[in-house]
Subunit: 230 residues, 2 copies
DNA sequence: GCCTCATGTCAAGAAACGGTCAAGATCGAG
DNA sequence: CTCGATCTTGACCGTTTCTTGACATGAGGC
């Protein structure tokens, strides 16, 4: 995940300063607003990975900010509040917040709870995201562990698949014999590059029309192999 | 969601009493254990909707309980702890916990945070898996815990059902032997892939017309099994 | 042309893997 | 306690997959 994005809705300048220092230091992309109304707009336009909101805002009640966010967004919401009463926490959490920290809080704890929130989001995303590659008539779906050639499923043995998957993960780039052996046969494979020749032959027989003139799995003599991406 | 199920891993009798009163009063189905090892087994067998774990257990460190749960389960974990140091919180959250309450805590807050956890789970479940799946003549209703083949109900034993349910939850994708064993037999199953063979045979006999040529439950040699969705 | 090195092809034995059956062991209900 | 259902475990067998060796091919240097 490149640079998770955070919207902070907080009016106290001191806390904003504090958050800005901590969060940018951790590599977060940070957007700040001082009012609830602005905050709602900011979340809508930035589509952040997590929202931090103070309950004591000058314009709208923090609880209402949460409720209005929840009408259309499932972004994780972490509440900061000067009030530590149990009733306040319950109301905020039931309004749709995911976590609640009473001031004063440690920055380490906030960061840890943000990591929890990001983990949740990542989890939801992972299932929907698919890592798949299509090159000409060859289609590889790493998520489902399937390989299609001209729409027909090809059965690969575990080693064949691991070899192909390694090439796919570095598609377009050369991978050395050494590296392939290491990733497919494990660290004790040494320099048995014989294995590679045998299995590249297997893959070509299954995936290439003319295995003497490979269009996908090409040899880089003396170096390694490469999966062409065009 | 009918009667959410909670596993409590806690050794202090006083707190157990407290939790029991509060949670059963709210309509939770409650299972308690006093040690980490028992807790892991209990979570595996009960498949709860949320887990509450105390960090100060007599046998294993609470952090390790969390880490070992996270090897195979994504169930929400709420940590209770007598220690309120920031470092403790950070470690537990980074180990995979979803929330952290320092004792003494209010029961209302705990209940609110449990509602948050259940909300998350409902969300993830809804996204990743329909509660009912129909493929050809096979119909599976996870909500009602019923399996129909050509409209006729099939009786499955608990393990058979859990195995099928795990495959359904990841329908279309390959699930490794290791993962299936973890999710069905619990964390101590090791690599007894023998179990899998026996039970896949049972399922096929009940669900496939020709168990030698399965149309739903297919083997991915050397890797795992897959429930076909087409 | 001929030699050599890196690579590709083929096939056979060995090893691992998965499917099946059935005999104990265990558990829970009556 | 007894019975039946369910789970665990062991043995067996056929098949797939991996490893290994022998040999073929082909490009580049002499």
């Amino acid at each position: 995940m490149p640079e998770p994005c955070v919207v902070v809705i907080e009016d106290e300048p001191q806390i904003r300063l504090f958050l800005r220092a901590a969060l940018t230091g951790q590599g977060y992309r940070l957007f700040e607003t001082g009012t609830g109304e602005d905050g709602l707009v900011e979340v809508a336009s930035r589509q952040p990975d997590v929202v931090i909101v103070d309950l004591g805002l000058p314009d709208i009640d923090g609880l209402e900010v949460i409720a209005r966010l929840r009408e259309w967004s499932t972004v994780p919401i972490i509440v900061l509040s000067a009030r530590g009463q149990e009733q306040d926490k319950i109301k905020a959490l039931d309004a749709g917040a995911d976590d609640y920290l009473s001031k004063p809080f440690g920055i380490g704890e906030l960061l840890a709870r943000m990591r929890v929130a990001l983990r949740h989001r990542a989890h939801v995303d992972r299932d929907s995201a698919e890592s798949t590659l299509t090159v000409g008539d060859l289609h590889i779906d790493l998520g489902r562990r399937r390989v299609l050639i001209q729409g027909a499923e090809v059965h690969l043995t575990p080693i064949e698949y691991r070899l192909l998957a390694t090439l796919v993960r570095h598609a377009g780039k050369v991978i050395t014999h050494r590296r392939l052996l290491h990733e497919v046969w494990g660290p004790n494979a040494g320099d048995q590059s014989h294995y590679l020749r045998v299995y590249m032959a297997h893959l070509r027989r299954k995936l290439e029309k003319d295995s003497a003139r490979p269009r996908h799995l090409v040899t880089e003599p003396g170096v390694g192999y490469r999966l062409l991406t065009e």
